[in-house]
């Protein structure tokens, strides 16, 4: 008579332990915080932020703050189009996580604007592209404004292991080419992470 009662009690206790044991507290974290989850095997959100910050700083330092970027239309900011950003890692990456951050920062300088109607693989904003064509037709314009610069790049991954310590290197490379096909700016940022498992914080 006691066995079913014991089994029931045990299962209830186990269930309660499972529920309480698995419970994790979820909280909001500032994306600029140093308490984000850091993993060795993948590019984390803070890695993209770090790479984008380096790229933006370099572009501002070497080109924008030196007034080197030239616009084909006087009194207007230079026009940039985004070309191929190649993902040479083993992960599925939306390269906009990197590129959008750079675009936002460049746009805020007031010296560079990005075309949303011209880009590799089609327009980013198809409605804006249609509107641009219609506007050109009504205005009887013969030429669309071409980008003054194009942004291209590559993300490369290299892995290493020594005992239980794993190392992953992520190399971010970007180039800004002028309309004549000359790379006027190039930058590379390497992020190396070591560890045996994911962690919270840098």
């Amino acid at each position: 008579m006691k066995k079913p009662f014991l089994a029931l009690t045990l299962s209830a206790v186990t269930g309660a332990l499972l529920f309480t044991g698995c419970a994790t507290q979820t909280s909001y974290v500032d994306p600029n915080s140093s308490r984000l989850v850091t993993s060795v095997g993948k590019i984390d959100v803070q890695d993209f932020a770090q790479a984008a910050d380096t790229m933006t700083q370099s572009l501002i330092d070497n080109q924008i703050s030196q007034d080197k970027l030239r616009s084909s239309v006087p009194s207007e900011p230079a026009l940039m189009a985004v070309s191929r950003i190649q993902n040479n890692t083993g992960q599925q990456i939306d390269t906009d996580v990197l590129v959008k951050k750079i675009r936002i920062a460049l746009n805020r300088t007031g010296k560079v604007q990005t075309s949303t109607t011209m880009g590799l693989g089609g327009a980013e904003d198809p409605l804006a592209a249609d509107q641009q064509k219609a506007q050109e037709f009504f205005d009887d314009k013969k030429h669309t404004r071409l980008p003054d610069y194009t942004l291209s790049g590559k993300i490369i991954e290299m892995r290493d292991k020594a005992g239980s310590v794993r190392q992953a290197s992520y190399i971010f490379q970007l180039s800004l080419s002028s309309a004549s096909g000359i790379a006027v700016w190039e930058e590379e940022k390497t992020i190396i992470k070591q560890g045996s498992r994911a962690n919270v914080g840098f």
Binding site: S34, Q50, S65
Partner: protein
């Protein structure tokens, strides 16, 4: 601490940091940019840095906009 304006009016800063201990020290830092009224314009993401024992290094940053006229660097201890 060194600071200078670029030809286009961007504030560029250079801050020397030194590890006074004999062991490797890791930290993260964040640069905050303020306008002429002391209002926060923007801040950088947390950036990790490691200094070897007794090493001296420079933190160099350029303001993301000419509106930034002052800065503050926040040093944070790593969480692991």
């Amino acid at each position: 601490v060194n600071s200078a304006d670029t030809p286009a009016g961007y504030l560029k800063i250079q801050v020397e940091v030194q590890n006074n201990t004999r062991s490797v020290q890791a930290f993260t830092y964040r640069v905050e940019w303020f306008d002429e009224n002391g209002m926060l314009v923007t801040s950088s993401p947390s950036l990790p840095k490691t200094l070897e024992g007794k090493e001296t290094a420079d933190i160099i940053a350029i303001a993301p906009t000419p509106r930034a006229k002052d800065f503050r660097i926040k040093f944070l201890e790593p969480t692991n």
